[in-house]
Assembly symmetry: C2
């Protein structure tokens, strides 16, 4: 039996993730890994989670173990609605939220609901590689819009919108992979442009809560555009292993179709974990917990930036993150981060070369560094080793 | 913004589930529901699960909360391999198993990996409605093969295979919706036929452990056909809320593609729940637990069959289940179970009319009854009320 002959076109056009491939190499404890996107495990509220587990089993009994509804636990959806209403002055209710099996599932569901083969979708250049992967399953045509220090390149955005894409996928806060944040002005301009087109705006916001200072940036579309979707997650603020993400939209018609797709792909998200996260959120000071994570990551980000100033050649440029988990390094023209990768691994350093974050890059001179999963000393040590390697090139 | 204009063709051709729609109506506590497919909550090992939760948090700490690998927890996969090797004389290892977010996800992944639009897929007539839903997302051409008391209609099978379908989807044990089990002879015959074709055989087996007597039926394809897949689940034997299913195949090439698709759709299944189920299985007598569930369901199935003998008109036929969760009722020709449904709901009885289990039935004279989620007295009461309704038609 020749399996190749039986495969769908869509799986042939969906690459396995480079990152998840190298995570195995990077899991060697002697490797300092800036490659993954792992939250720091010291931020997981283990004791509190265990208390919540005992409480929900005792309080709700078999309900936390039984089949449940597709859209998700109403109490958790209400909590999310209330939190976003308070923070962003919105008017969301339970029906505006669908719980997903991690944010990754939201990417798949949105693509499944909107994209026919060859339909257009706009992504940032560069963009989150697992979004490229999820969307690829529907075999769309990708249009890209460059990211600047301000946000989206508006001319390129207008140009891409001429192709009548079904949706645009953005990560406005501490973008993955670049760490860049759209300015308030750029958000307004993007919103004004989007008003002219029947294109859905997806704002993926897994890191929004992790802003190092206390500023609050508005969403581009939520409350302003009829086809606006915001994606959120508890992976970076509570724990990723529970796979609890969510889709927010004021467009309940769109959410009904997303719910039908979700029903078809996994019936519903783990209900025990939904109760668990909800109980944790309502029995603990979530904002205080987030404040601790922010302090931790801010110190780690600073350690990385300081070390880069100290050890990287001047010809190497990098973004200064205002929050989130990543920063983006640009090497001198002509130096391929992909060819640097095996050499770095020999020195027990891992990172993600830029290539997989582009739709069709090869030998990009860029790389993504994660700073959340190592302490400041380890970060300095790793950046020093990487700097030596760069100086020798 | 007109959402209809933005939808993909695939979502337009994927119906929302009738069953999940009526589950809401059936959740009224005054309704006796034979509609769902819910395990009896008294079978959930709540205390043991709570002990396991405490143990895994204490033993593995942050690992049970962190991101994890796509194929699933190796220890759980090894446990599954060992169990199937012992029961069925196979030679499976960790690499032959992928953990899925419930069995439902396995249906989606298999369809995504194998089916282009219009590609052929064979399903039983009737078949599991959520499988129709999952496969519909890829817009295939469905071919159907009738089920008899013996299993698949072999002539129709050969006929359907002439269309070079990518795979055939079967539920050989206590089929959903009919409750029928393929005979050992029919399994052999199906295997011999399948050997002649490059078509993958999927055996969905969520209920296989729940056989009322101690016979052991072999799989049709596992160990015999190169393109053989078996699907399993802990939803019916431990708890469904954790959403832990699995895919078994000796074809590791096929599994690699399935793993790439899984990576794209949800990165990995809830790792906490994988540790939890694994710890529960290895610290408790799983077979003794299953024996208890079987005894419980056997009594409930008998109560339903006895009540049907007593209260149903002779013109109504039904299957006698050897295990699992369902039986299948055939009304006299011309009586639509769909039109019976609202009348039954008025009498506070719910069931699933046959229509959604067929690719294109309308006003079928069949219905599915579930007996696992009510005690024998309630079952008798419900069947009595349904019998009165049937006699008055």
């Amino acid at each position: 039996m020749n399996i190749e002959n039986l495969l769908s076109d869509r799986i042939k056009s969906t690459p396995p993730s480079f990152v998840r491939g190298i995570l195995k190499a990077a899991s060697d404890p002697s490797v300092i890994s800036f490659a993954g996107g792992l939250p720091n495990p010291i931020s997981f509220p283990q004791e509190e989670m265990l208390e919540s587990m005992e409480r929900i089993v005792k309080t709700y009994g078999s309900t936390v173990f039984q089949y449940s509804i597709t859209a998700g636990l109403p109490e958790l959806r209400q909590y999310i609605a209330d939190r976003y209403n308070k923070k962003f002055g919105l008017n969301l209710g339970v029906d505006n939220i669908i719980i997903t099996t991690g944010s990754q599932q939201a990417l798949d569901l949105i693509a499944q609901v909107l994209l026919n083969k060859d339909d257009g979708v706009i992504v940032e250049k560069p963009t989150y590689l697992a979004a490229i992967q999820a969307f690829s399953l529907t075999q769309p045509t990708f249009y890209t819009v460059e990211l600047t220090e301000e946000g989206l390149n508006l001319e390129q955005l207008e140009e891409a919108l001429q192709h009548h894409p079904k949706f645009i996928y953005t990560i406005p806060n501490f973008q993955n992979p670049t760490g860049l944040t759209y300015s308030v002005e750029n958000r307004k301009q993007v919103c004004e442009i989007m008003k002219k087109y029947d294109t859905i705006l997806v704002e993926d916001d897994p890191y929004g809560e992790l802003r190092f200072d206390d500023q609050q940036f508005p969403y581009i579309g939520m409350g302003k555009l009829p086809g606006s979707i915001v994606l959120g997650s508890f992976s970076k603020t509570v724990t990723p292993g529970m796979r609890i993400g969510f889709i927010i939209s004021e467009n309940t018609e769109l959410l009904r179709y997303i719910s039908t797709a979700k029903e078809a792909v996994d019936l519903h998200t783990n209900i025990f974990s939904q109760y668990l996260i909800w109980d944790y959120l309502t029995h603990n000071d979530f904002d205080a917990h987030i404040a601790k994570i922010k302090k931790l990551y801010k110190a780690q980000a600073q350690a990385m930036v300081e070390a880069m100033k100290k050890y990287f050649p001047d010809t190497v440029k990098y973004t200064i993150p205002e929050g989130g988990m990543f920063l983006w390094v640009t090497l001198p023209e002509g130096i391929s981060a992909m060819s640097l990768f095996p050499k770095a691994l020999e020195k027990h350093i891992a990172f993600v070369p830029g290539d997989p974050f582009f739709i069709d890059a090869k030998d990009s001179n860029t790389m993504r560094l994660n700073y959340t999963n190592a302490d400041p000393e380890t970060i300095e040590d790793g950046i020093r080793r990487l700097g030596e390697l760069l100086k020798n090139m």
